[in-house]
């Protein structure tokens, strides 16, 4: 009985999770296939066409040794990250913001749902979509470059941690935003530039020292490098450094999300 009154409402949480999954699954062309096509085009142009001329990518790994990877294979983890980041962000931000605009947020506010239920359901659904698209990118790329997966557990860790983080960022963006324009700031002006400058298409260790230092301040660099280690087995940044950076970012975002939801920021009038 007490669990009904104060405990986490599992049924409500499951329902919200399924609802969020259905919400993007019903429009799968737009939410899954469209980002897959975009990322595949990047891969075909940069990875396959350009890669044929570049040949192999030589870079200095975190072990200090020089590594050579076919350019096509080198860009795959970064492109996966790009699609996972944007899709996890888009899932929470568009869903929550739309319910703010069309008034269905009322259903969430008047339901017996606490912060743990809302956070878990929204983030899990977004993680699910992000990883689904990431996995499809990996499969499409694999047809050209071979299905590499050097350290599956690291690949899973970085995929889950990064999609969770950006799902959380998407949630905060939706709470903060008052109009659609506000929402587009994040993907267009923050996430995409950071991703493109985060070593998706080149190795930061080969940049001039100043630019390398600046690049190291880019949080997305650690997500790309970490996933590259999980998939190719080599990376510019030590995998533990990436893991700590990514894990810390996730923790911070989760804490901010919890505080925001507890306070009803952007939701409760």
């Amino acid at each position: 009985m007490t669990s009904d009154v104060t405990g986490v409402n599992r049924r409500a949480m499951r329902t919200l999770f399924h609802k969020e999954i259905q919400r993007f699954a019903k429009v799968w062309l737009q939410t899954v296939i469209s980002p897959l096509v975009t990322t595949s085009l990047y891969f075909l142009v940069f990875g396959v066409a350009l890669g044929a001329r570049v040949g192999t990518m030589s870079f200095t790994g975190s072990d200090g040794a020089g590594h050579e990877v076919p350019y096509g294979a080198f860009v795959v983890p970064g492109l996966m990250m790009l699609s996972m980041i944007s899709n996890s962000f888009l899932n929470t931000s568009s869903s929550l913001f739309q319910s703010k605009i069309n008034g269905t947020l009322v259903d969430l506010l008047t339901a017996p749902l606490g912060t743990p239920e809302i956070l878990t359901a929204y983030l899990s659904a977004a993680v699910f979509r992000g990883i689904a698209v990431g996995l499809l990118v990996w499969i499409v790329a694999g047809l050209f470059t071979g299905f590499a997966l050097a350290h599956p557990l690291w690949a899973i860790f970085f995929s889950v941690a990064v999609t969770t983080t950006f799902a959380g960022v998407g949630l905060l963006a939706a709470l903060w935003a008052e109009k659609f324009d506000h929402l587009s700031i994040f993907p267009n002006f923050i996430v995409q530039p950071l991703t493109f400058l985060g070593g998706v298409f080149y190795s930061v260790t080969d940049l001039p020292p100043l630019w390398e230092t600046i690049s190291r301040c880019n949080p997305v660099l650690y997500t790309v490098s970490g996933l590259r280690y999980g998939i190719l087995g080599v990376s510019e940044i030590p995998v533990m450094t990436s893991a700590v950076a990514v894990g810390a970012a996730m923790l911070i975002v989760l804490i901010i999300c919890t505080i925001a939801l507890n306070r009803g920021y952007g939701m409760r009038r």
């Binding site: 009154v5 049924r11 409500a12 269905t104 009322v106 017996p112």
Partner: protein, 312 residues
Amino acid sequence: MPIAEQDPRPLVLRGVGKSYGARTALQPVDLEIRRGEIFALLGPNGAGKSTLIHCISGISTQTVGAISVFGYDTVREFRATRRLVGLVPQEINFDPFFTPFECLMIQMGLMGVEPDPTWADELLARMSLTSHRNSYTRTLSGGMKRRLLIAKALVHKPRLLFLDEPTAGVDVELRRDLWQQVELLRDQGTTVILTTHYLEEAERLADRVGVINKGRLLLVETKADLMRQFDARQVRITTGTPLPEVLPATLDAALTRQSPCLLSAPWQGAERMAELLSSVSASFQVQDVSIQRTSLEDIFVDLIREADRTGA
């Protein structure tokens, strides 16, 4: 599993107030709602009706005071109170991704009850939405969307139901239909609180009435008491021929000339009315007699005007 009641009283408000920075939307309110009643909250736009309902149902949180729903605190034990409360919001909302049937099934899950397709279909039937069970919600008319909102508010069989202006923009037939539904719910033991602009609605449905203006709860009375208190019925007698400016002394002193063919007097019982009538018919031809009853609307308008005048 239904939530056990800790207190038979559906709703107890203790000093519940809400302010946004320096602006006070609701001055501290004390209010107890009786079990099984229909309580109508009346007030002009922006009076604080919705603010009060929002604080109880979870859309906002009060700045001061405590709200208890069947003994559970709406802040500390919100999972319990929200299971007991149903809300039909004032503004129509709909999720374009789901059909009415899917909406109800999802709503059951969100409210933490086992999704039951039979119950969803019964609710759709009650709200005359069966033929639109599998349509896209956006293709529903405004009235249908509102009925869907009511169905959604009932999925978890709430013991306390809020209807925030349920019949705003709803046609006459549907309005009567909704009234019947509300009365049916009350008969089944649901306590109902509704806000409305239509005084006819409160007059027809409510057991008790609360009047709220500029964030202040002015009064709470049973409808019958309120009508009695403000009862100022008038006898109106229409004559067949015009009356002189100065009425003849033979006429009852209680009568006043309203217009060339209309006399009026305060209602003082049936016997007095017979006296009035005979005094008029002695000198003039009586064409029509009517008794004008004060409507809740008159009372309401007077109350708000009085409150505004005294600066309350």
